[in-house]
Amino acid sequence: MSTSKARWAAVTGHSLFWPVVALIALLVANTIYRPGFLSVEMKDGHLYGSLIDILRLAAPLILVGLGMTLVIATGGIDLSVGSVCAISGAIACLHISQQPDQNALGGVLVALALGVGLSLVLGVWNGALVSIIGIQPIIATLILMVAGRGLAQLITEGQIITINSEPYKAVGVGYLLTLPLAIFIAAGVALVVAAVTRRTALGMIIESVGGNAEASRLAGIRSGRITFLVYVISAVCAGIAGFMITANVSSADGNAAGLWIELDAILAVVIGGTSLAGGRFSLGGTILGALLIQTLTTTVYAMNISPQTSLLFKAVVVIAVCLIQAPAFRARFARRRPAAPAAPTAADQPKEQVPA
């Protein structure tokens, strides 16, 4: 086997190869459909363009996806992230709406702290249900997924809270150094999560618990604590995403904010190469998955595909990527190709020995 062939095999065999291909294909398709798609222009010191929009709109999904990645790596799942988004957005908007001056930075900071604090509490709730009481993650977080919507409604008293606060709006649509602020926030959180997991031993321990819980217990890992922690991280990430989602529209809607984001987040994680069975995780993969999903959503809008078919379109792309990534599918695909006939190279090599 020539080395270039081997290198090519290593590239195509990489778990992120197909997501990258899909992302590039989507970008190319968009460019063909709308030649100006890739162009980015500078207006009033801000960068504008479809690519920038995709990055900005993907930010909440990236945040939720990061937390979800850790949860899934332990072999769990967190269905409540959408509700947590709604709750933290609602409490923040409620606090701001009660301020005499909605543009005062102090009030906004308190609102953000309230949102993060409440998310933390919700994460503790999830973590306790899973790790202390021992409820299956899918059921435990389903409770908050359902009840959380009610909680958000309670906070907004069934209304849509509309606010008019420039500092809060900035979280969603503001700019910093020519780029949307949301991108910096997502990147910042991603760096923090990466540092917490990869600079410490947390990442490896999470992978160990998800890869083999019993072996981890016998190696002396306090898996309960680790499990608890990832649900808290997930909820806090979702809480921050909730700010962006509500800031984008300057209003908090307990029903609509973050609706179905858990599904997109799970997809992003899976596309990013983290197995739903737990174990090895890839934060970079999840970010890539989130970008792919957001590009897909943007493409669907840009091409004026009707809402009915758009979901189908999305589903097809996602299925294709997941299938191509699946080792079983690939193995079958590889086996189909005619195997090289009994290689003479192997046969006529001398059969005797090699040092031990």
Partner: protein
Amino acid sequence: MSGRQPVLTMTAISKSFPGVRALDGVDFRLFPGEVHALMGENGAGKSTLIKVLTGVYGNDAGVISLAGQQVSFSGPMQAAAAGVSTVYQEVNLCANLSVAENIFIGREPRTLGAIRWGEMRRRARDLLVKLDLHIDVTQLLGTYSLAVQQMVAIARAIDIQARVLILDEPTSSLDATEVEQLFRIMRQLRDEGIAIIFVTHFLDQVYGIADRITVLRNGRLVGEYPTAELPQLALVEKMIGKELDVLESLDEHAKRDLAAIEANTPFLQAEELGRKGSVVPFSLTIHAGEVVGLAGLLGSGRTEVARLLFGADRADHGKVAVDGKPTSLRNPIAAIGHDIAFCSENRRTEGLVGELSVRENIILAMQAARGWLRPIPRRRQDELVDKYVKALSIRPADPEIPVRNLSGGNQQKVLLARWLITEPRLLILDEPTRGIDVGAKAEIQKLVVQLSDGGMAVLFISAELEEVLRLSHKIAVMRDRQLVTELANDHTVDADRVMQTIASGTHHEGPEA
């Protein structure tokens, strides 16, 4: 042999994994009515050859023919349908199904699609009785020890009407009596004309049953020999490519002054420690520098004793003292806190994390003890890992590959390395040499001796009585989940005496039923 046609020929088989050439142009022939031993060191390629044959892996090159027809199986199911029945090295049954279901999964007796449960249970029971195993077939498989699981896997394989039966290290956790049962059945099948491939690291077993031997080394064929023409020493030489000399120096190590060791303060004292449904309360004292062997038959409770002392299971009876101070070993963390380490016999489910690399698996326990906030510096990790990869000759020596890609024996060494780097004061070894080749086994035994000379206490469990006798200062004999007696391992003790003690326990007759 020459007159007959081989039932199976594999010609010029090659198989590479990223970075490893696992098989390199290997030829293999198998005749009907023979037991053919496939021999080689850990990582020589034995299991890979079997997996290529049964279609678990595709081969890069080479031809396989079964009864004159070229074949290329898509997987074990298809292979079984064509008459190639396999027991893989790692028991791959479903722990959460009953024993009977495991034996008949995929080929349940049915009427009009409905499974005939009664018949299935009856047939499962009959089949196991043939192997002299009297257990409740409606129980979940996971509730039984690894040895029982291994027997169940064998029962399943022999019940499939096969032309070729492949047994990859089927005896690695069996006791002498079970091995005898298995051999009886193997001979019977052989006489019926079935061809059997048998992989083992026990040389005695090879000479007890094999007609011919094929030796692999580093993925290449060394040669094929009639057993009678290949003396044991020559076989070892062919396998390792050099002469073996470590074993001799070890003999009779243990028959040293037990008195001197017993004079030390005890490291661990268990008093009437027990757990309902697991072990009858027992008392056991282990001193620093002492190797305590646990002897007993399959299901006698050896593993359960180990698990109680490590806190893997929680005792519901009795007291423990470490360094003379009363304490509770309620969970593994508590035990690790007292510098106790435990290598489980079941490396795949209770030991290693398959996806993690060799390095990560080795440092796992040490890292867990430090807590995740204090990662072991990478340089220190590499030092430790390097040292033990060398000391235990773990191959391939690349610590960054996932541990599940290692051969069975090498995985075992990784598990051992994980606990050795924590420098425990009591090392509990449950079948540490299971699946380990002759050379490495001697190395590990030597290591146990060195460690105990250095003051480490060792609780040593092995189905191989010779090994227990060679290493232990004191042998605790288990029978029917009860510790029946302790024997000081002096000149009066030999394998026969231990067997007698096991057999003549005062408890009621018969294995657990």
